[in-house]
């Protein structure tokens, strides 16, 4: 059993290596094959023809952050949901009630965000 455990992660590690090696290999191979004649125009930022004006690191709309916050909350809450789901059979009715309360609270949170116009994109 522990062997399976170890081996599985070994495999994952191997896949990681492969996943890194492929692009590196390909790109180095490309370096030998492809031409390399840089010039000014090539190195400029592309802005549909017109010359790039001021820095493009524009300040994002705040709504991006708001969604990020929501994501953090809801995504992490699943941390409780998954274990519960896995052992649901053993837990019985009480767990159901508990989790329904939990989900209702989550829903209230969602409704709150909804009402406060956080979910409005435009």
């Amino acid at each position: 059993m522990s062997n399976i455990y170890a081996n599985s992660y070994l495999i994952i590690f191997v896949f990681l290596c492969l996943g890194v090696l492929l692009p590196i290999g390909a790109l180095t191979a490309g370096r030998w094959l492809r031409p390399h004649v840089p010039d000014e125009m090539k190195a400029t930022t592309y802005e549909s023809g017109n010359n790039p004006f001021h820095d493009s690191r524009v300040q994002f709309q705040v709504r991006y952050y708001l969604f990020a916050l929501l994501f953090v909350i809801f995504d992490v809450e699943t941390v409780f949901l998954y274990p519960w789901a896995v052992v649901y059979d053993q837990l019985g009715l009480f767990a159901l009630v508990e989790m329904i309360i939990f989900i209702v609270l989550l829903a209230i949170g969602l409704i709150y965000a909804w009402k406060k116009k956080v979910l409005r994109w435009m």
Binding site: Y65, I73, V79
Partner: protein, 101 residues
Amino acid sequence: MTLSAYLALALILFCIGLYGALTKRNTVIVLICIELMLNAVNINFVAFAKYGAHPGVRGHVFALFAIAVAAAEAAVGLAALIAFYRSRKTVQVDEANSLKH
């Protein structure tokens, strides 16, 4: 001996986080450092739960709760930071000095 290795790692992480949290000026970095500390805690819990004197699942549970709470704190922290940025147009802690010391 695996345990002490994990503990050492956690301790190092924690100290880095603490150092950063106490010295850095940029609030985002400070918040990240706090997360770092909390993750050090999680490593501790999980390590103890697996290799500790009394192995058991409690450590994992505690880690789960720690993660959730950390997320909540991070969310509130970012929200506070955004509000602060809106009113002050900066994210530097040491510029948060309108309240006299």
